[in-house]
Symmetry: C2
Subunit: 403 residues, 2 copies
C-alpha cells in the first residue's frame, strides 16, 4: 500500500521526470520549482531537445540526466545516460521516489513497468503505457500495491472524486457504489464542423486546439477524439471499471474535467480553469491540494455557462474504434495505439488526410490476429509489426487513403 | 467518533423521524421503506397532521408516536406522546440509533441538542437548529464526537465532496486545503424579476418554486434567498469554515448542489437531478451510496447546459442580512431566524409585502442588544422576544411595512 503521509520537510520527494522537455515535463518542473520543500528533481530525461535538457539540468542540478538521441556534449553534462536503457536506469534508481512518465508514445511503457517493479511511485502522463500494456502493468501494480497516479486531467478528476469512496489506498480497485465514470471531452476544434469540411482538414487546423496547450500528437488525438478513446481504455485499467460503466460526454468549456456517478444518482465532478499544473501537482503532492499562487482560480463573481452533449461517433470514428479495441481486449488496444501513432505522424507529414487516421487504425485492427493474454515480448512485436504495416500502407497507398 | 461500518443486515438502523408528515419526513419514510434491510422507522413525530401520522404509524409500526397539537384518538394509536417533551423523549430513546430532525423552525433545535447529548446520530434537515444555537450544538457535537449529518442538498453536496479530504470521521472539523465552500442557489422564482415587480409579489407567486418540492416556509425563504443565507450560517457551523471562505453562486438548473474549492484551484462539485431523497438517503446510509431504482439519473445522452451567476444582493437583501448576522455572531443569527420565521408568516398571511420580510428582519437585527456567548436559556428568550417584537410590529404597523 502507498504511504499517504507527506515526507518530512527536510526530505523532499525525489522526482524523476521522463520527458522533461515536453509540455507535461516542463510544467512538472514548474510545480517542483514552486515547492522546493516538498519536491526535488533528481533525474531528467528527454528524447531529443539537448539544449533545453541542458538548461533544465543547470537549473535543477539532478543526479541523473538522459538524452534519447544525440549528445549533451558541450553543455557541461559529462556523464549523461542515453537511450531506452537510460530511462530504465532512471526509473529504477535507488535515489528516485517517484517517476513522472511524461514521454509520449510507446517509449513510456517500459520505464513505467520498470519503475513499478522497482517499487517506485509512478505518475503517469503517458496514455500508451496503459493502453498498450494495461494488463501487464495493472497486474504488476496491483501485485506490488503501488497505485498509479494519473496526470491526465480526466483521470486526475476521477481520482480526486473517488477519494474517501471506499477505494482505500489502492487506485487500482474499483470504487464502491459507482455506476459510471464519465470522462469529459472538449470536442476538439471540429466539434461543430460538418463532416464534409472535416474531410479536408489540414494539420495546421487540427493543431489549433481551443483550450489545452499540448504536444502535437495529443492535439491531433484530441481533434479525432482518439485521445478520449485512449483515455477510456486507460480509465478501464486505472479504476478497474468495465467498458459499459465508462461514458464520454463532450463539454466544450473544459471546466469539468470528469465525473463519477454513484448508484444513488449522486454524481461528483472535479472542475477548474484548465491548467495541467493542477493535476501534475496533485499527482506529486497527493493527497494534498498544495497552494500555488500561479494556478488559476474560478471567478465566482462572473456569470458562466457549462455545456454538455453526447459525442458524435459518426464524425469521430476514432472514439468508437478505441471503444471496440478496448472491449475486444488482448492485443487490440496495442494495435490501436501503435496504428494511431503512425497514422497521426502520416497526417502531420501530409501523407494522408484527416479521416485517413481512423481508416488506417480500422484497417490495422481488422488485419490483426489477436492474442488474448499478451506478454511484454508479444506486445513489443505487435507494436513493431503494426507500425511497420501502417508505414507500409502509408508509403505505398498514401494517395489511396486520401478519399 | 462515528462508526462508519454498515450495521449487519439483521440489525437495521433504528430511525426516528421528527416531522414525519412534512415534505422531508415523508420522503425519509420513502427511503426507509425502500431499504427494509438497512433502516427501520422506530419513532414518528408530527406537529399537527394527525391523519397522516396515523397512516404512517399503521404502515411502519413504530415503537413511539408523537403529535405536537391535538390528539391521535380514533386512529388506533392509544399511547401517543405529545408536545416538545414528546420530541425530546423520542430523540433520547434507547431504541433509537439516528434522529432525523425534519421539523421546521425553532421546534427542531432542542430535540437536536437532546439527541446529540444522548449520543444519537443526527440527520439535520432543520436549518434553524444550527442557525439559532450553532455555537451550543456544534460545541456539544464536537465534545461527543458526533458529526451531524446534513440533509439539505447543499450541505450534503459539500459533505459528499469532502469525503477523503483529511476530515476523518468528524464532519465538524474543517477539511484540509480548502479555500472556499461554494453553495449553489436556484435563485428562486424571481431570479430575473425586476425589483419593481418584486415589490408587488403575492404569496401565491412566491410559492411557485421552479425546482424543489418543499414546504411553504422554505419556499418563501428560497424566493427571498434567506434560505441560502441560513445555509451559509449552517455551513459555517457544520464545516467549521469562516464566513470569508463561504460563497454563494446562483445556478438556476439546480443540478450542481454545491462545491468545494481547494487551495490549488481544484474544485469538487456534487450534482444530480434534484430529488431530496438522494441527500436524505445519503444521510441515513452514510457512507454508502445505496441503489434505489426510484431515484432519478442524469441522462448523459442528452445535451444540457448549466448556468452560474453571482447573486444580486440588491434585489435579495435577505442574503446580505444573513451574512451580516452570521459575521456578527453571538445572538444575531437567532434574531435573524426568529424574525424571518415571523416575517414569512406575516407575508403568507398577507399582512406585509414581499420586501416587508427583509425590512422586518433588518429592523429586528437593528433593535437587538447582542450577547456574545449565549446559552440555551438566552437563545430561548431571544427567540421568544424577537418573535413577539416582530408580531407586534406586524400587528400595529403592517400597513406601514407595505411601501
Amino acid at each position: 500500500m502507498e504511504n499517504q503521509t507527506s515526507p518530512p520537510a527536510t526530505q523532499p520527494l525525489r522526482v524523476a521526470v521522463l520527458g522533461s522537455t515536453g509540455s507535461i515535463g516542463t510544467q512538472t518542473l514548474d510545480v517542483i520549482a514552486a515547492h522546493p520543500d516538498r519536491f526535488s528533481a533528481v533525474a531528467l530525461a528527454a528524447a531529443r531537445n539537448a539544449t533545453l535538457l541542458a538548461e533544465q539540468a543547470a537549473r535543477f542540478k539532478p543526479l541523473l540526466v538522459c538524452l534519447g538521441e544525440g549528445r549533451v556534449g558541450g553543455t557541461g553534462i559529462e556523464d549523461a545516460l542515453s537511450g531506452p536503457e537510460g530511462l530504465i536506469e532512471i526509473a529504477t534508481h535507488p535515489d528516485v521516489d517517484l517517476v513522472v512518465v511524461a514521454t509520449t508514445g510507446a517509449a513510456g511503457w517500459e520505464p513505467t513497468l520498470a519503475a513499478i517493479s522497482a517499487g517506485k511511485q509512478v505518475a503517469l502522463a503517458n496514455k500508451e503505457a496503459l493502453v498498450m500494456a494495461g494488463s501487464v502493468i495493472a497486474v504488476e501494480a496491483r501485485r506490488r500495491g503501488i497505485p498509479l497516479r494519473p496526470v491526465d486531467s480526466e483521470h486526475s478528476a476521477i481520482w480526486q472524486c473517488i477519494q474517501g469512496e471506499g477505494v482505500g489506498d489502492s487506485l487500482l480497485a474499483a470504487p464502491k457504489g459507482v455506476r459510471k465514470l464519465i470522462l469529459t471531452a472538449s470536442g476538439g476544434p471540429f466539434r461543430n464542423t460538418p463532416r464534409e469540411q472535416m474531410e479536408k482538414v489540414t494539420p495546421g487546423q487540427a493543431l489549433a486546439h481551443p483550450t489545452w496547450n499540448m504536444g502535437a500528437k495529443i492535439t491531433i488525438d484530441s481533434a479525432t477524439l482518439m485521445n478520449k478513446g485512449l483515455e477510456v481504455i486507460e480509465a478501464h485499467w486505472l479504476f478497474d471499471m468495465p467498458y459499459e460503466k465508462l461514458e464520454v460526454v463532450v463539454h466544450p468549456q473544459s471546466i469539468v474535467h470528469s465525473m463519477i456517478e454513484f448508484e444513488d444518482g449522486s454524481t461528483k465532478a472535479q472542475l477548474g480553469v484548465p491548467d495541467m499544473r493542477v493535476p501534475i501537482q496533485y499527482a506529486l503532492g497527493y493527497p494534498d491540494h498544495l497552494p500555488y499562487a500561479d494556478l488559476p482560480q474560478m471567478d465566482w463573481t462572473q456569470a458562466f455557462t457549462l455545456e454538455f452533449e453526447p459525442p458524435d461517433l459518426d464524425r469521430f470514428p476514432c472514439l468508437g474504434l478505441a471503444w471496440e479495441a478496448g472491449r475486444k481486449g488482448g492485443t487490440y488496444p496495442a494495435v490501436l495505439s501503435a496504428a494511431d501513432e503512425e497514422a497521426v505522424r502520416a497526417f502531420l507529414d501530409e501523407k494522408i488526410d484527416f479521416y485517413g487516421i481512423p481508416r488506417l487504425v480500422e484497417r490495422a485492427l481488422g488485419a490483426h490476429e489477436p492474442i488474448t493474454e499478451p506478454d511484454l515480448q508479444t506486445i513489443r512485436e505487435i507494436d513493431r509489426d503494426t507500425r511497420a504495416r501502417v508505414r507500409e500502407w502509408t508509403r505505398t497507398q498514401g494517395s489511396a487513403l486520401i478519399r
